[in-house]
Protein backbone atom coordinates (compact mmCIF):
# COMPACT_ATOMS: atom_id res chain seq x y z
CA UNK A 1 0.00 0.00 0.00
CA UNK A 2 2.88 2.36 0.62
CA UNK A 3 3.55 2.29 -3.08
CA UNK A 4 -0.02 3.25 -3.89
CA UNK A 5 0.02 6.22 -1.57
CA UNK A 6 3.56 7.38 -1.40
CA UNK A 7 5.04 9.94 0.91
CA UNK A 8 5.95 12.19 -1.94
CA UNK A 9 2.47 13.35 -2.88
CA UNK A 10 2.48 16.45 -0.72
CA UNK A 11 3.35 18.93 -3.45
CA UNK A 12 0.62 17.58 -5.69
CA UNK A 13 -2.02 17.63 -2.99
CA UNK A 14 -1.03 21.15 -2.09
CA UNK A 15 -1.25 22.22 -5.73
CA UNK A 16 -4.69 20.67 -6.03
CA UNK A 17 -5.90 22.44 -2.92
CA UNK A 18 -4.60 25.78 -4.14
CA UNK A 19 -6.24 25.38 -7.53
CA UNK A 20 -9.50 24.30 -5.91
CA UNK A 21 -9.37 27.38 -3.75
CA UNK A 22 -8.83 29.58 -6.79
CA UNK A 23 -11.75 27.87 -8.50
CA UNK A 24 -13.89 28.64 -5.48
CA UNK A 25 -12.92 32.28 -5.82
CA UNK A 26 -13.77 32.56 -9.51
CA UNK A 27 -16.94 30.55 -9.06
CA UNK A 28 -18.63 30.81 -5.68
CA UNK A 29 -20.88 27.81 -6.32
CA UNK A 30 -17.91 25.59 -7.12
CA UNK A 31 -18.41 23.24 -4.19
CA UNK A 32 -22.21 23.05 -4.47
CA UNK A 33 -23.51 19.54 -4.94
CA UNK A 34 -27.05 18.36 -5.46
CA UNK A 35 -28.83 15.29 -6.66
CA UNK A 36 -30.30 15.59 -10.14
CA UNK A 37 -32.21 12.66 -11.63
CA UNK A 38 -30.44 10.31 -9.23
CA UNK A 39 -27.06 11.64 -10.23
CA UNK A 40 -24.78 13.96 -8.34
CA UNK A 41 -24.55 17.33 -10.00
CA UNK A 42 -22.04 20.09 -9.49
CA UNK A 43 -18.72 21.47 -10.61
CA UNK A 44 -16.75 19.03 -8.49
CA UNK A 45 -18.44 16.13 -10.23
CA UNK A 46 -17.71 17.80 -13.56
CA UNK A 47 -14.04 17.92 -12.66
CA UNK A 48 -13.99 14.22 -11.89
CA UNK A 49 -16.15 13.29 -14.84
CA UNK A 50 -14.29 15.39 -17.42
CA UNK A 51 -10.99 14.34 -15.91
CA UNK A 52 -11.76 10.69 -16.53
CA UNK A 53 -10.29 10.30 -20.03
CA UNK A 54 -6.99 11.95 -19.13
CA UNK A 55 -6.89 10.04 -15.84
CA UNK A 56 -7.32 6.77 -17.69
CA UNK A 57 -4.70 7.75 -20.24
CA UNK A 58 -2.29 8.71 -17.51
CA UNK A 59 -2.72 5.32 -15.87
CA UNK A 60 -1.28 3.67 -18.95
CA UNK A 61 1.11 6.47 -19.73
CA UNK A 62 2.71 6.42 -16.31
CA UNK A 63 3.76 2.81 -16.78
CA UNK A 64 5.14 3.51 -20.22
CA UNK A 65 7.06 6.49 -18.93
CA UNK A 66 8.36 4.42 -16.03
CA UNK A 67 10.11 2.21 -18.58
CA UNK A 68 11.67 5.33 -20.08
CA UNK A 69 9.23 5.34 -22.96
CA UNK A 70 6.49 7.66 -24.09
CA UNK A 71 3.29 7.05 -25.99
CA UNK A 72 2.13 9.80 -28.30
CA UNK A 73 -0.52 7.63 -29.91
CA UNK A 74 -3.02 7.45 -27.06
CA UNK A 75 -5.21 10.20 -28.47
CA UNK A 76 -5.43 8.42 -31.80
CA UNK A 77 -6.08 5.09 -30.09
CA UNK A 78 -8.94 6.75 -28.23
CA UNK A 79 -10.39 7.84 -31.54
CA UNK A 80 -10.04 4.37 -33.08
CA UNK A 81 -11.65 2.57 -30.18
CA UNK A 82 -14.39 5.14 -29.80
CA UNK A 83 -15.16 4.76 -33.48
CA UNK A 84 -15.30 0.98 -33.22
CA UNK A 85 -17.53 1.12 -30.19
CA UNK A 86 -19.87 3.60 -31.83
CA UNK A 87 -20.13 1.65 -35.06
CA UNK A 88 -20.96 -1.57 -33.26
CA UNK A 89 -23.09 -0.14 -30.47
CA UNK A 90 -26.50 -0.37 -32.10
CA UNK A 91 -26.02 -3.82 -33.55
CA UNK A 92 -24.18 -5.66 -30.79
CA UNK A 93 -24.45 -6.16 -27.08
CA UNK A 94 -22.33 -4.15 -24.71
CA UNK A 95 -19.85 -6.95 -23.91
CA UNK A 96 -19.16 -7.48 -27.59
CA UNK A 97 -18.75 -3.76 -28.15
CA UNK A 98 -16.38 -3.44 -25.22
CA UNK A 99 -14.41 -6.50 -26.23
CA UNK A 100 -13.97 -5.18 -29.75
CA UNK A 101 -12.93 -1.73 -28.61
CA UNK A 102 -10.57 -2.90 -25.90
CA UNK A 103 -9.21 -5.54 -28.23
CA UNK A 104 -8.41 -2.85 -30.77
CA UNK A 105 -6.63 -0.88 -28.06
CA UNK A 106 -4.67 -3.95 -27.16
CA UNK A 107 -3.60 -4.46 -30.76
CA UNK A 108 -2.53 -0.83 -30.98
CA UNK A 109 -0.50 -1.26 -27.82
CA UNK A 110 1.07 -4.41 -29.17
CA UNK A 111 2.08 -2.60 -32.31
CA UNK A 112 3.73 0.21 -30.34
CA UNK A 113 5.38 -2.28 -28.03
CA UNK A 114 6.61 -4.28 -30.98
CA UNK A 115 8.22 -1.24 -32.56
CA UNK A 116 9.88 -0.20 -29.32
CA UNK A 117 10.81 -3.51 -27.73
CA UNK A 118 11.49 -5.68 -30.75
CA UNK A 119 12.53 -3.30 -33.50
CA UNK A 120 14.25 -1.03 -31.04
CA UNK A 121 12.76 2.21 -32.36
CA UNK A 122 12.84 5.28 -30.20
CA UNK A 123 9.50 5.50 -28.41
CA UNK A 124 8.69 9.03 -29.53
CA UNK A 125 8.92 8.21 -33.24
CA UNK A 126 7.56 4.72 -32.89
CA UNK A 127 4.37 6.04 -31.35
CA UNK A 128 4.34 9.09 -33.60
CA UNK A 129 3.64 6.66 -36.44
CA UNK A 130 0.45 5.44 -34.84
CA UNK A 131 -0.41 8.94 -33.71
CA UNK A 132 -0.54 10.01 -37.35
CA UNK A 133 -1.88 6.85 -38.93
CA UNK A 134 -4.20 5.98 -36.06
CA UNK A 135 -6.34 9.05 -36.48
CA UNK A 136 -6.58 8.19 -40.13
CA UNK A 137 -7.74 4.69 -39.23
CA UNK A 138 -10.35 6.13 -36.91
CA UNK A 139 -11.61 8.43 -39.65
CA UNK A 140 -11.59 5.53 -42.05
CA UNK A 141 -13.94 3.69 -39.73
CA UNK A 142 -16.31 6.63 -39.42
CA UNK A 143 -15.57 8.01 -42.91
CA UNK A 144 -14.99 11.37 -41.35
CA UNK A 145 -18.53 11.63 -39.99
CA UNK A 146 -19.65 11.69 -36.40
CA UNK A 147 -21.12 8.24 -35.95
CA UNK A 148 -23.97 8.44 -33.50
CA UNK A 149 -25.66 5.62 -31.67
CA UNK A 150 -28.50 5.20 -29.27
CA UNK A 151 -27.71 1.92 -27.53
CA UNK A 152 -28.77 2.65 -23.96
CA UNK A 153 -26.08 0.37 -22.55
CA UNK A 154 -23.23 2.27 -24.08
CA UNK A 155 -24.88 5.59 -23.31
CA UNK A 156 -25.15 4.49 -19.72
CA UNK A 157 -21.40 3.96 -19.68
CA UNK A 158 -20.92 7.63 -20.41
CA UNK A 159 -23.88 9.22 -18.69
CA UNK A 160 -25.25 6.76 -16.19
CA UNK A 161 -24.69 6.73 -12.48
CA UNK A 162 -24.31 4.18 -9.75
CA UNK A 163 -25.24 5.40 -6.29
CA UNK A 164 -25.36 8.89 -7.67
CA UNK A 165 -21.79 8.82 -8.91
CA UNK A 166 -21.35 9.00 -12.69
CA UNK A 167 -20.20 5.73 -14.21
CA UNK A 168 -17.03 7.12 -15.87
CA UNK A 169 -15.71 8.17 -12.48
CA UNK A 170 -16.32 4.73 -11.14
CA UNK A 171 -14.64 3.12 -14.13
CA UNK A 172 -11.58 5.29 -13.68
CA UNK A 173 -11.46 4.49 -9.99
CA UNK A 174 -11.88 0.83 -10.77
CA UNK A 175 -9.06 0.94 -13.30
CA UNK A 176 -6.84 2.70 -10.80
CA UNK A 177 -7.47 -0.02 -8.27
CA UNK A 178 -7.12 -2.78 -10.84
CA UNK A 179 -3.88 -1.38 -12.23
CA UNK A 180 -2.58 -0.83 -8.74
CA UNK A 181 -3.45 -4.36 -7.75
CA UNK A 182 -1.85 -5.87 -10.85
CA UNK A 183 1.25 -3.75 -10.71
CA UNK A 184 1.88 -3.72 -7.01
CA UNK A 185 0.27 -7.03 -6.20
CA UNK A 186 2.65 -8.81 -8.52
CA UNK A 187 6.29 -8.13 -9.08
CA UNK A 188 5.43 -6.12 -12.18
CA UNK A 189 5.89 -2.78 -10.48
CA UNK A 190 9.38 -3.58 -9.30
CA UNK A 191 10.44 -5.04 -12.61
CA UNK A 192 9.04 -2.08 -14.54
CA UNK A 193 10.86 0.34 -12.30
CA UNK A 194 14.05 -1.65 -12.66
CA UNK A 195 13.68 -1.71 -16.45
CA UNK A 196 13.18 2.02 -16.57
CA UNK A 197 15.92 2.72 -14.05
CA UNK A 198 18.59 0.70 -15.84
CA UNK A 199 17.51 -1.60 -18.64
CA UNK A 200 20.94 -3.11 -19.18
CA UNK A 201 21.44 -3.98 -15.57
CA UNK A 202 17.92 -5.36 -15.30
CA UNK A 203 18.39 -7.51 -18.35
CA UNK A 204 21.56 -8.92 -16.81
CA UNK A 205 19.70 -9.61 -13.59
CA UNK A 206 17.35 -11.82 -15.55
CA UNK A 207 14.46 -9.39 -15.98
CA UNK A 208 12.65 -9.88 -19.28
CA UNK A 209 12.88 -6.22 -20.16
CA UNK A 210 11.33 -6.66 -23.59
CA UNK A 211 8.31 -8.34 -22.10
CA UNK A 212 8.00 -5.50 -19.60
CA UNK A 213 8.11 -2.91 -22.34
CA UNK A 214 5.62 -4.81 -24.45
CA UNK A 215 3.32 -5.17 -21.46
CA UNK A 216 3.25 -1.49 -20.58
CA UNK A 217 2.47 -0.40 -24.12
CA UNK A 218 -0.31 -2.96 -24.30
CA UNK A 219 -1.75 -1.72 -21.04
CA UNK A 220 -1.45 1.84 -22.25
CA UNK A 221 -3.39 0.87 -25.36
CA UNK A 222 -6.12 -0.75 -23.30
CA UNK A 223 -6.43 2.27 -21.03
CA UNK A 224 -6.63 4.53 -24.06
CA UNK A 225 -9.29 2.28 -25.54
CA UNK A 226 -11.38 2.57 -22.41
CA UNK A 227 -10.93 6.33 -22.43
CA UNK A 228 -12.04 6.36 -26.05
CA UNK A 229 -15.16 4.34 -25.33
CA UNK A 230 -16.08 6.63 -22.47
CA UNK A 231 -15.49 9.73 -24.56
CA UNK A 232 -17.73 8.33 -27.27
CA UNK A 233 -20.38 7.25 -24.80
CA UNK A 234 -20.33 10.71 -23.30
CA UNK A 235 -21.40 12.48 -26.49
CA UNK A 236 -23.34 9.48 -27.81
CA UNK A 237 -21.22 9.48 -30.88
CA UNK A 238 -17.74 8.90 -32.16
CA UNK A 239 -15.99 11.99 -33.39
CA UNK A 240 -12.93 10.46 -34.98
CA UNK A 241 -11.65 13.86 -36.03
CA UNK A 242 -11.47 15.34 -32.60
CA UNK A 243 -11.71 12.60 -29.98
CA UNK A 244 -8.58 12.58 -27.89
CA UNK A 245 -6.94 15.28 -29.98
CA UNK A 246 -3.84 16.54 -28.11
CA UNK A 247 -4.83 14.55 -25.03
CA UNK A 248 -1.50 12.70 -25.19
CA UNK A 249 0.15 15.91 -24.09
CA UNK A 250 -2.26 16.27 -21.19
CA UNK A 251 -1.61 12.69 -20.16
CA UNK A 252 2.14 13.17 -20.23
CA UNK A 253 1.70 16.39 -18.32
CA UNK A 254 -0.40 14.58 -15.73
CA UNK A 255 2.26 11.93 -15.28
CA UNK A 256 5.00 14.49 -14.85
CA UNK A 257 2.94 16.61 -12.49
CA UNK A 258 2.48 13.34 -10.63
CA UNK A 259 6.20 13.30 -10.03
CA UNK A 260 7.23 10.48 -12.36
CA UNK A 261 10.42 11.29 -14.19
CA UNK A 262 10.43 11.22 -17.96
CA UNK A 263 13.72 9.38 -17.62
CA UNK A 264 11.99 6.35 -16.24
CA UNK A 265 12.20 4.52 -12.97
CA UNK A 266 10.02 5.24 -9.98
CA UNK A 267 6.37 5.83 -10.72
CA UNK A 268 3.18 6.44 -8.83
CA UNK A 269 -0.25 5.58 -10.22
CA UNK A 270 -2.18 7.58 -7.67
CA UNK A 271 -0.13 10.69 -8.22
CA UNK A 272 -0.48 10.40 -11.98
CA UNK A 273 -4.25 10.36 -11.58
CA UNK A 274 -3.94 13.24 -9.17
CA UNK A 275 -1.99 15.04 -11.86
CA UNK A 276 -4.86 14.48 -14.27
CA UNK A 277 -7.25 15.92 -11.71
CA UNK A 278 -5.05 18.94 -11.20
CA UNK A 279 -5.15 19.62 -14.92
CA UNK A 280 -8.91 19.18 -15.10
CA UNK A 281 -9.52 21.32 -12.02
CA UNK A 282 -7.62 24.04 -13.77
CA UNK A 283 -9.52 23.54 -17.04
CA UNK A 284 -12.88 23.64 -15.33
CA UNK A 285 -11.81 26.71 -13.42
CA UNK A 286 -10.90 28.41 -16.66
CA UNK A 287 -14.32 27.61 -18.11
CA UNK A 288 -16.11 28.85 -15.01
CA UNK A 289 -14.09 32.03 -14.76
CA UNK A 290 -15.71 33.71 -17.71
CA UNK A 291 -12.45 35.09 -19.07
CA UNK A 292 -12.28 35.31 -22.86
CA UNK A 293 -10.96 32.08 -24.38
CA UNK A 294 -7.87 33.86 -25.70
CA UNK A 295 -6.52 33.62 -22.16
CA UNK A 296 -6.99 29.86 -21.75
CA UNK A 297 -3.54 28.83 -22.89
CA UNK A 298 -1.78 31.55 -20.98
CA UNK A 299 -3.46 30.52 -17.74
CA UNK A 300 -2.61 26.91 -18.44
CA UNK A 301 1.03 27.71 -19.07
CA UNK A 302 1.35 29.70 -15.89
CA UNK A 303 -0.37 27.10 -13.74
CA UNK A 304 1.70 24.25 -15.17
CA UNK A 305 4.91 26.12 -14.52
CA UNK A 306 3.83 27.02 -11.02
CA UNK A 307 2.90 23.44 -10.16
CA UNK A 308 6.20 22.17 -11.51
CA UNK A 309 8.22 24.78 -9.67
CA UNK A 310 6.41 23.78 -6.53
CA UNK A 311 7.87 20.33 -6.95
CA UNK A 312 11.34 21.33 -8.00
CA UNK A 313 13.93 19.85 -5.69
CA UNK A 314 15.95 22.98 -6.21
CA UNK A 315 13.43 25.26 -4.57
CA UNK A 316 14.95 24.55 -1.21
CA UNK A 317 12.59 26.82 0.68
CA UNK A 318 9.61 24.77 -0.24
CA UNK A 319 11.51 21.51 -0.07
CA UNK A 320 12.50 22.45 3.46
CA UNK A 321 8.89 23.00 4.45
CA UNK A 322 7.96 19.67 2.96
CA UNK A 323 10.76 17.91 4.74
CA UNK A 324 9.66 19.40 8.02
CA UNK A 325 6.05 18.47 7.43
CA UNK A 326 7.10 14.98 6.54
CA UNK A 327 9.14 14.59 9.67
CA UNK A 328 6.18 15.52 11.84
CA UNK A 329 4.16 12.74 10.25
CA UNK A 330 4.42 9.30 11.87
Amino acid sequence: MTALLPRRGLAQILALIVILAVDRVVSPQFFDLRLQDGRLFGSLIDVLNRGTPVALLSLGMVLVIATRGIDLSVGAVMAICGAIAASLADSHSLPVVLAAALGAGLVCGLWNGFLVAVLGMQPIVATLILMVAGRGIAQLITEGRIVTFSSPDLVWLGNGAILGVPVPIEIALGMLILTGAVVRGSALGLLIEATGGNARASELAGVGTRAMILAVYVWCGVCAALAGVIAAADIMGADANNAGLWLELDAILAVVIGGTSLFGGRFSLVLAVLGALIIQTMNTGILLSGYPPEFNLLVKAVVVLAVLLLQSPKLSGFAGIMARLRRTKP
Partner: protein, 298 residues
Amino acid sequence: AELTVGFSQIGSESGWRAAETSVSKQEATKRKVNLKIADAQQKQENQIKAIRSFIAQNVDAIFLAPVVSTGWDSVLKEAKEAKIPVVLLDRDIDPSGKDLYLTAVTSDSVHEGAVAGEWLAKTVGDKACNVVELQGTVGASVAANRKKGFDTAIAKHANLKVVRSQTGDFTRAKGKEVMESFIKAEGGGKNICAVYAHNDDMMVGAIQAMKEAGLKPGKDILTVSIDAVPDIFKAMVAGEANATVELTPNMAGPAFDAVAAFKEKGTVPPKWIQTESRLLTAADDPQKEYDSKKGLGY
Protein backbone atom coordinates in the same frame (compact mmCIF):
# COMPACT_ATOMS: atom_id res chain seq x y z
CA ALA B 1 -11.80 17.16 -73.11
CA GLU B 2 -11.92 15.80 -69.64
CA LEU B 3 -10.98 18.36 -67.03
CA THR B 4 -8.46 17.67 -64.29
CA VAL B 5 -9.04 19.75 -61.20
CA GLY B 6 -6.86 19.85 -58.11
CA PHE B 7 -8.71 20.57 -54.91
CA SER B 8 -6.76 21.67 -51.86
CA GLN B 9 -9.11 20.75 -49.06
CA ILE B 10 -8.46 21.85 -45.47
CA GLY B 11 -8.88 18.54 -43.77
CA SER B 12 -11.69 16.67 -42.18
CA GLU B 13 -12.05 18.41 -38.89
CA SER B 14 -15.85 18.15 -38.86
CA GLY B 15 -18.76 16.29 -40.33
CA TRP B 16 -19.57 19.29 -42.48
CA ARG B 17 -16.12 19.23 -44.01
CA ALA B 18 -16.42 15.52 -44.75
CA ALA B 19 -19.72 16.23 -46.47
CA GLU B 20 -18.18 18.99 -48.54
CA THR B 21 -15.49 16.59 -49.70
CA SER B 22 -17.88 13.84 -50.59
CA VAL B 23 -20.34 16.18 -52.30
CA SER B 24 -17.45 17.60 -54.33
CA LYS B 25 -16.57 14.10 -55.45
CA GLN B 26 -20.18 13.37 -56.38
CA GLU B 27 -20.41 16.59 -58.37
CA ALA B 28 -17.14 15.78 -60.10
CA THR B 29 -18.32 12.30 -61.12
CA LYS B 30 -21.56 13.80 -62.37
CA ARG B 31 -19.60 16.09 -64.67
CA LYS B 32 -16.89 13.54 -65.53
CA VAL B 33 -14.23 15.75 -64.01
CA ASN B 34 -11.03 14.14 -62.80
CA LEU B 35 -10.80 15.54 -59.27
CA LYS B 36 -7.56 15.31 -57.31
CA ILE B 37 -8.04 16.08 -53.66
CA ALA B 38 -5.12 16.92 -51.41
CA ASP B 39 -5.97 17.00 -47.76
CA ALA B 40 -4.01 19.61 -45.83
CA GLN B 41 -4.64 18.32 -42.33
CA GLN B 42 -5.59 21.82 -41.20
CA LYS B 43 -2.28 23.35 -42.18
CA GLN B 44 -1.80 26.29 -44.49
CA GLU B 45 1.71 25.21 -45.37
CA ASN B 46 0.33 21.91 -46.60
CA GLN B 47 -2.19 23.72 -48.74
CA ILE B 48 0.53 25.79 -50.30
CA LYS B 49 2.55 22.65 -50.95
CA ALA B 50 -0.48 21.02 -52.52
CA ILE B 51 -1.12 23.96 -54.82
CA ARG B 52 2.51 23.96 -55.87
CA SER B 53 2.36 20.31 -56.74
CA PHE B 54 -0.87 20.84 -58.66
CA ILE B 55 0.94 23.49 -60.65
CA ALA B 56 3.81 21.10 -61.21
CA GLN B 57 1.31 18.57 -62.53
CA ASN B 58 -0.23 21.17 -64.80
CA VAL B 59 -3.87 20.61 -63.80
CA ASP B 60 -6.65 22.51 -65.60
CA ALA B 61 -7.94 24.30 -62.56
CA ILE B 62 -7.29 24.52 -58.86
CA PHE B 63 -9.93 24.66 -56.14
CA LEU B 64 -8.84 26.04 -52.84
CA ALA B 65 -10.73 25.93 -49.57
CA PRO B 66 -8.40 28.28 -47.69
CA VAL B 67 -7.76 27.47 -44.06
CA VAL B 68 -7.04 31.14 -43.40
CA SER B 69 -7.73 34.27 -45.36
CA THR B 70 -4.19 35.55 -45.75
CA GLY B 71 -0.94 34.34 -47.17
CA TRP B 72 -1.92 33.16 -50.63
CA ASP B 73 -0.43 35.87 -52.77
CA SER B 74 2.79 34.30 -53.87
CA VAL B 75 1.50 30.82 -54.54
CA LEU B 76 -1.53 32.12 -56.40
CA LYS B 77 0.78 34.31 -58.43
CA GLU B 78 2.61 31.16 -59.43
CA ALA B 79 -0.67 29.60 -60.48
CA LYS B 80 -1.49 32.68 -62.49
CA GLU B 81 1.90 32.57 -64.19
CA ALA B 82 1.18 28.96 -65.06
CA LYS B 83 -2.21 30.10 -66.41
CA ILE B 84 -4.18 27.84 -64.15
CA PRO B 85 -7.47 29.35 -62.93
CA VAL B 86 -8.10 29.17 -59.20
CA VAL B 87 -11.51 28.99 -57.57
CA LEU B 88 -11.96 29.62 -53.89
CA LEU B 89 -14.43 27.42 -52.09
CA ASP B 90 -16.25 28.04 -48.88
CA ARG B 91 -14.07 30.90 -47.65
CA ASP B 92 -12.80 34.08 -49.18
CA ILE B 93 -9.23 35.28 -49.01
CA ASP B 94 -7.71 38.60 -48.27
CA PRO B 95 -8.80 41.34 -50.69
CA SER B 96 -5.29 42.05 -51.95
CA GLY B 97 -5.53 38.90 -54.01
CA LYS B 98 -8.72 39.68 -55.91
CA ASP B 99 -7.10 39.43 -59.30
CA LEU B 100 -5.38 36.20 -58.41
CA TYR B 101 -8.41 33.98 -58.58
CA LEU B 102 -11.23 33.40 -61.02
CA THR B 103 -14.08 33.39 -58.60
CA ALA B 104 -15.01 32.53 -55.04
CA VAL B 105 -17.89 30.23 -54.25
CA THR B 106 -18.53 31.01 -50.62
CA SER B 107 -21.08 31.78 -48.10
CA ASP B 108 -20.69 34.86 -45.97
CA SER B 109 -19.92 33.75 -42.46
CA VAL B 110 -20.56 37.18 -40.98
CA HIS B 111 -23.94 37.03 -42.59
CA GLU B 112 -24.55 33.58 -41.13
CA GLY B 113 -23.93 34.92 -37.65
CA ALA B 114 -26.22 37.82 -38.38
CA VAL B 115 -29.02 35.52 -39.55
CA ALA B 116 -28.71 33.58 -36.31
CA GLY B 117 -28.75 36.76 -34.27
CA GLU B 118 -31.75 38.20 -36.07
CA TRP B 119 -33.72 35.01 -35.60
CA LEU B 120 -32.99 35.09 -31.89
CA ALA B 121 -33.92 38.76 -31.56
CA LYS B 122 -37.16 38.15 -33.38
CA THR B 123 -38.03 35.07 -31.35
CA VAL B 124 -37.29 36.61 -27.99
CA GLY B 125 -39.02 39.85 -28.65
CA ASP B 126 -38.71 42.40 -25.85
CA LYS B 127 -37.98 39.93 -23.10
CA ALA B 128 -34.61 40.33 -21.38
CA CYS B 129 -32.46 37.44 -22.53
CA ASN B 130 -29.04 36.25 -21.41
CA VAL B 131 -27.24 34.47 -24.21
CA VAL B 132 -24.30 32.13 -23.82
CA GLU B 133 -22.05 31.61 -26.78
CA LEU B 134 -20.04 28.58 -27.81
CA GLN B 135 -17.26 29.88 -30.00
CA GLY B 136 -15.34 28.00 -32.60
CA THR B 137 -11.62 27.43 -32.42
CA VAL B 138 -9.78 30.48 -31.18
CA GLY B 139 -8.12 32.13 -34.13
CA ALA B 140 -10.27 30.51 -36.81
CA SER B 141 -11.66 33.18 -39.09
CA VAL B 142 -15.07 31.51 -39.33
CA ALA B 143 -15.36 31.70 -35.58
CA ALA B 144 -14.44 35.37 -35.54
CA ASN B 145 -16.86 36.16 -38.36
CA ARG B 146 -19.79 34.25 -36.93
CA LYS B 147 -19.21 36.01 -33.66
CA LYS B 148 -19.02 39.37 -35.35
CA GLY B 149 -22.20 38.84 -37.35
CA PHE B 150 -24.12 37.69 -34.32
CA ASP B 151 -22.85 40.53 -32.15
CA THR B 152 -23.83 43.17 -34.69
CA ALA B 153 -27.26 41.64 -35.11
CA ILE B 154 -28.07 41.67 -31.42
CA ALA B 155 -26.37 44.98 -30.72
CA LYS B 156 -29.57 46.67 -31.86
CA HIS B 157 -31.53 44.89 -29.14
CA ALA B 158 -30.65 46.04 -25.65
CA ASN B 159 -32.58 43.17 -24.09
CA LEU B 160 -30.18 40.60 -25.60
CA LYS B 161 -26.88 40.20 -23.85
CA VAL B 162 -24.07 37.66 -24.32
CA VAL B 163 -23.19 36.82 -20.72
CA ARG B 164 -20.67 34.07 -21.33
CA SER B 165 -18.57 33.18 -24.30
CA GLN B 166 -16.02 30.42 -24.38
CA THR B 167 -14.49 28.28 -27.06
CA GLY B 168 -15.81 24.80 -27.71
CA ASP B 169 -13.29 24.14 -30.48
CA PHE B 170 -16.11 23.29 -32.89
CA THR B 171 -16.40 19.84 -31.26
CA ARG B 172 -19.23 18.00 -29.57
CA ALA B 173 -17.22 16.97 -26.55
CA LYS B 174 -15.96 20.44 -25.81
CA GLY B 175 -19.36 21.93 -26.54
CA LYS B 176 -20.83 19.69 -23.90
CA GLU B 177 -18.10 20.40 -21.37
CA VAL B 178 -18.30 24.14 -21.84
CA MET B 179 -22.08 24.13 -21.65
CA GLU B 180 -21.88 22.16 -18.43
CA SER B 181 -19.78 24.85 -16.86
CA PHE B 182 -22.00 27.63 -18.26
CA ILE B 183 -24.93 25.98 -16.55
CA LYS B 184 -23.08 25.76 -13.25
CA ALA B 185 -21.87 29.32 -13.49
CA GLU B 186 -25.32 30.70 -14.37
CA GLY B 187 -27.34 29.42 -11.47
CA GLY B 188 -27.96 25.94 -12.78
CA GLY B 189 -29.04 27.32 -16.13
CA LYS B 190 -31.83 29.45 -14.74
CA ASN B 191 -30.15 32.65 -15.91
CA ILE B 192 -29.66 31.43 -19.45
CA CYS B 193 -32.33 32.11 -22.00
CA ALA B 194 -30.54 31.09 -25.19
CA VAL B 195 -27.45 29.38 -26.53
CA TYR B 196 -25.70 30.41 -29.69
CA ALA B 197 -23.15 27.96 -31.05
CA HIS B 198 -20.80 28.63 -33.95
CA ASN B 199 -21.58 25.20 -35.29
CA ASP B 200 -24.14 22.46 -34.88
CA ASP B 201 -21.73 19.91 -33.48
CA MET B 202 -21.10 22.02 -30.40
CA MET B 203 -24.82 22.58 -30.08
CA VAL B 204 -25.52 18.85 -30.10
CA GLY B 205 -23.07 18.53 -27.21
CA ALA B 206 -24.62 21.49 -25.43
CA ILE B 207 -28.10 19.98 -25.79
CA GLN B 208 -26.87 16.87 -24.00
CA ALA B 209 -25.40 18.97 -21.22
CA MET B 210 -28.70 20.79 -20.77
CA LYS B 211 -30.63 17.56 -20.65
CA GLU B 212 -28.31 16.10 -18.07
CA ALA B 213 -28.75 19.20 -15.95
CA GLY B 214 -32.50 18.63 -16.01
CA LEU B 215 -33.19 21.49 -18.39
CA LYS B 216 -35.31 21.30 -21.49
CA PRO B 217 -33.33 22.54 -24.47
CA GLY B 218 -35.48 24.21 -27.03
CA LYS B 219 -37.98 25.22 -24.35
CA ASP B 220 -36.19 26.37 -21.19
CA ILE B 221 -33.28 27.50 -23.26
CA LEU B 222 -33.49 28.49 -26.92
CA THR B 223 -30.88 27.21 -29.31
CA VAL B 224 -29.52 28.59 -32.53
CA SER B 225 -26.48 27.37 -34.38
CA ILE B 226 -24.96 27.21 -37.85
CA ASP B 227 -24.16 24.56 -40.51
CA ALA B 228 -27.36 22.48 -40.72
CA VAL B 229 -25.83 19.06 -40.22
CA PRO B 230 -28.27 16.14 -40.06
CA ASP B 231 -28.00 15.62 -36.30
CA ILE B 232 -29.33 19.06 -35.50
CA PHE B 233 -32.51 18.19 -37.42
CA LYS B 234 -32.84 15.08 -35.35
CA ALA B 235 -32.76 17.30 -32.29
CA MET B 236 -35.32 19.62 -33.87
CA VAL B 237 -37.62 16.71 -34.51
CA ALA B 238 -37.33 15.90 -30.82
CA GLY B 239 -38.06 19.51 -30.01
CA GLU B 240 -34.66 20.05 -28.47
CA ALA B 241 -33.26 22.51 -30.97
CA ASN B 242 -34.85 25.62 -32.40
CA ALA B 243 -32.92 26.95 -35.34
CA THR B 244 -29.93 26.49 -37.56
CA VAL B 245 -28.43 28.44 -40.44
CA GLU B 246 -27.56 26.33 -43.42
CA LEU B 247 -24.12 26.27 -44.92
CA THR B 248 -24.35 24.21 -48.06
CA PRO B 249 -21.67 21.59 -48.61
CA ASN B 250 -22.12 21.90 -52.34
CA MET B 251 -19.57 24.56 -53.18
CA ALA B 252 -17.84 22.53 -55.83
CA GLY B 253 -20.86 22.21 -58.14
CA PRO B 254 -21.10 25.90 -59.03
CA ALA B 255 -17.33 26.03 -59.15
CA PHE B 256 -17.13 23.25 -61.74
CA ASP B 257 -19.73 25.00 -63.82
CA ALA B 258 -17.86 28.28 -63.67
CA VAL B 259 -14.59 26.63 -64.64
CA ALA B 260 -16.18 24.67 -67.46
CA ALA B 261 -17.80 27.80 -68.86
CA PHE B 262 -14.53 29.69 -68.56
CA LYS B 263 -12.53 26.95 -70.24
CA GLU B 264 -14.96 26.31 -73.07
CA LYS B 265 -16.37 29.70 -73.85
CA GLY B 266 -14.10 32.04 -71.95
CA THR B 267 -17.00 33.28 -69.85
CA VAL B 268 -15.62 35.17 -66.89
CA PRO B 269 -17.83 34.45 -63.89
CA PRO B 270 -18.65 37.05 -61.25
CA LYS B 271 -15.97 37.47 -58.58
CA TRP B 272 -18.25 36.12 -55.90
CA ILE B 273 -20.77 33.34 -56.23
CA GLN B 274 -22.51 33.56 -52.89
CA THR B 275 -24.29 30.50 -51.57
CA GLU B 276 -27.50 30.91 -49.71
CA SER B 277 -27.56 31.04 -45.90
CA ARG B 278 -31.00 29.56 -45.27
CA LEU B 279 -32.50 29.75 -41.83
CA LEU B 280 -34.09 26.46 -40.88
CA THR B 281 -36.32 26.02 -37.86
CA ALA B 282 -38.65 23.41 -36.45
CA ALA B 283 -41.28 24.86 -38.77
CA ASP B 284 -39.35 23.76 -41.85
CA ASP B 285 -40.03 20.04 -41.68
CA PRO B 286 -36.79 18.97 -40.00
CA GLN B 287 -37.47 15.29 -40.69
CA LYS B 288 -37.36 15.93 -44.43
CA GLU B 289 -34.17 17.93 -44.10
CA TYR B 290 -32.66 15.14 -42.07
CA ASP B 291 -33.53 12.51 -44.64
CA SER B 292 -32.19 14.55 -47.50
CA LYS B 293 -28.88 15.26 -45.80
CA LYS B 294 -28.29 11.89 -44.22
CA GLY B 295 -26.65 10.40 -47.27
CA LEU B 296 -24.29 13.25 -48.02
CA GLY B 297 -21.40 12.05 -45.90
CA TYR B 298 -21.86 14.29 -42.87
